[in-house]
């Protein structure tokens, strides 16, 4: 087993979830700010805003989840396993 290859795979996996989480975090923060603004301005619309916000956040979060899936694939089900001799 090549140690350098293994290390590079681990770094790749960590980077994929790290960068995806970075972007998704910014996006979710933006969404939350908008929702807070909306509720502060019009407290009566709290129910509708909360539902929409949770839905939007789930969509934002799925971007991070894609990164997580890539990380899992790299770590547990690497498609190039045979070629790398792992």
């Amino acid at each position: 087993m090549d140690k350098l290859t293994l290390g590079l795979i681990c770094i790749g996996a960590a980077l994929s979830i790290g960068l995806a989480g970075f972007g998704a975090g910014i996006g979710m923060g933006n969404g939350l700010r908008g929702a807070c603004d909306g509720v502060a301005r019009n407290p009566e619309a709290k129910g509708a805003i909360t539902t929409t916000m949770i839905l939007g956040m789930a969509l934002c979060e799925s971007i991070a989840i894609y990164g997580l899936v890539i990380a899992f694939i790299l770590l547990y089900a690497n498609p190039f396993k045979a070629a790398l001799g792992l």
Binding site: I54, L55, A58, S62, I65, L68, V69, F72
Partner: protein, 240 residues
Amino acid sequence: MEHPILFISLILQGLGLPVPHTPIGHTLLEKLCAPYMTYTWMVMIFLVVVPRLTMGKLEMVPGSGQNFWEVTIGGLMDFFTENLGEKGAKMLFPMMATFFFYIILANMIGLIPGFMSPTSSLNITLAMTLIVWVTHHVLGFKYHGLKYYKHFMGPSKALAPFMFLLELISNFARMISLSMRLFGNILAKEVLLGVLFMLAGAFFAPLPILCLGVLVSVIQAVVFVLLSLLYCAGSMEHAH
């Protein structure tokens, strides 16, 4: 990732049936005994038997069991009517409500030790997504006939070829995003629970993630059903 203890797999092994140790087995019997298959059957049996037992006979003054189901089904129906309109909601209700109950139960069952979420396997989520994807195209053809292609052509004639390409890609991306979202969320929950349990299980480290898992299970079920409703609504309405 292999789960440490799965009750149904242990029982099947005790009965002498082959349980695969890879994600998918090699022979047909191994494929049928894979954990996500057996737990799907369990969820299905639960969904058939428990409503029968709790609902009992329908009465004018509902008891506690019938009350629960009336609120659940009524709430779902309102939710569908908001997005699809009266007629479409009635048509799609059986399929989408089944998806909702199946997904929410399949997600929740992974929180109990000794059980796994069938939805943490890509096979299950991709199968459900394929059903939704085919259904929304069939609905499009049913409502618009061959003029359904106008949905893919965009607003202006000059840009139609480019828009067609873009719409085609985005349409196929639905298949990936819808299945990957559910699969990734539930797999992440399961793996996180496993890792935390191994790190500090004696100090109740997985407890906050268990609470978060309940939230994620409900939200992902709602998101899956809502997105499939929106896809169906989009193919049923007139092209812009």
